[in-house]
Amino acid sequence: MPELSVIIIGVISAAVGLLFPLALAGPLTWAERRQSAYMQDRIGPNRAALVIGGKEYRAFGLLHPLADVIKLITKEDTVHHSVDRFLYNLAPLISVFPALVTFAIIPFGPDLMSTAGTLALAPFANGSVPGADLLRLPLQGARLDIGILYIFAMSSLAVFGVTLAGYASTNKFALLGGLRASAQMISYEVTLGLAILGLVMAFQTLEPASMVYQQGQLLFGFIPKWGLIIQPLGFLIFMTAATAENKRVPFDTAEGESEIIGYFIEYSGMKFGMFYMAEYIEVVVISGVVTTLFLGGWQVPFLFSDGFHFPWGSMLQMSEWLVTALCVGAFVLKVLFMCWFQLTIRWSLPRFRYDQVMWLGWRVLLPLSLLNLVLTGLVILS
């Protein structure tokens, strides 16, 4: 029988890993429309209202995702007679699944330590290993030694959902969209992997939590050793490739609203909604991965397990629970910031033509990521 604290922390971690991206996906659909409106000098959705006692509560349009869900679920589900029913129904599920499970690998807080009945914070940023009598409880859905590879394994699966949707719809536009999406996703996966490989070389690990722990160290005594700072080129390449992986503007050739509409053209109701949801879950997942790999994960600069140690020598003592809360809060803030950043990219940049997407992927980003690897290797060797 494992200890109670192990069970509690494990359940919390698993729930956060599964529900955090899911819970954020709904508000993100609102944020996308509302933010784009503000960027384009409009107001955006603000009219869905709850009427309680004759008074309207609009909540800045936050009720629109709710209204959308009600609409999508109650909408008639039209299925063309010629579709491959099994694959057609399977495709949205395959799209959502990899997006949902990837977040399990993201550590959202520092490890906790437990001895009989007590719970304490594992010391971080100094690399010490807790004693053998201590149980180490990760605030992470699943701690895998090959966590980075797990991310790739799952994001590769997303191709199947898109391709199957395009194929099973027996619609030439859907097929075109599916083909484009699969070609694009496979192309950018190469770059995505090579971009992260630089970080793997720098941190000498494939385990996200260990990467986050190492990012708590300081360069020259005052610069946080975040992935963004030791791998700026890698960050740029990763962001670009990740946006392309998610098929969002400026890489939305698979949807191409003006030309082919995309692989989900034959879908309606909640099945279409699931493709839509998968996109937003993936936005959260990308934000989580970028935060973990490049923005120091849950690390707050100069915050150690007993409080702030500023580079100019002063110190701010803090309780362990406050430190834990600060770290988790920092992680959530960073993820929200990255979500905002991705939405800003999506509503700022014009989209690429299909051949330009391929050109950028194979002729620009791939050589750049290889160059990044070579540079990283040179720095490590020297």
Binding site: Y38, M39, D41, I43, T344, W347, L349
Partner: protein
Amino acid sequence: MSSHGHGQDHGADNKGGAVKDVHREHDFVERLYVPAIASGMAVTIRHFFTNLFSKEKYTATVQYPDVKTPYPSRFRGMHRLVPREDGAPRCVACFMCQTACPARCIHIEAGETSDSSIEKFPVVFQIDELRCVVCGLCVEACPCDAIRMDTGFHPPPVQQRGTAQVGRADLLAFFGKGEQGTRMGAHPPPTAGGQGRIDRSEGDHGAGGARGGF
């Protein structure tokens, strides 16, 4: 040929074809695209935060049913018939407005009056507000300033076509904008009452034909 400069056209040799071949030279910084992306995003981010936090927003949206902007003073709204001192319409049933109307929405039936200075008056004066194109030509055409469009409000929405027929009594009851309270007597609110549908089955063929004024 300089490698600097923004988007210089070097396609001067147009060899007789209709397609002009344009070659644009971009220097290294331009081909990086990252500075351009950054400056583009700076614009959108500035607009986002200005519209979110600042008092002086770029947003010009008027949330219409909640917020209404005042109409300009020469706004053409619902028609009205201008009354004389005694309350009868100024209209002398000369049919000028009915002739001028491009939408043929005015229907007048004239009657004789004992007043020798006018000779005629409108027994029926109906305007089909659904047909009206709000051009104001009837107001221009009227020799007696008997019809105006200065009420300042829209024709109200109707559930049935017949109720969009506004009759003489209602037209006479409407005030001009800013005229409120200057006339005697109580007047009904601006609702389209009307006197039932007009049968237009006669003389309404070939719109814009020989009979049309314009």
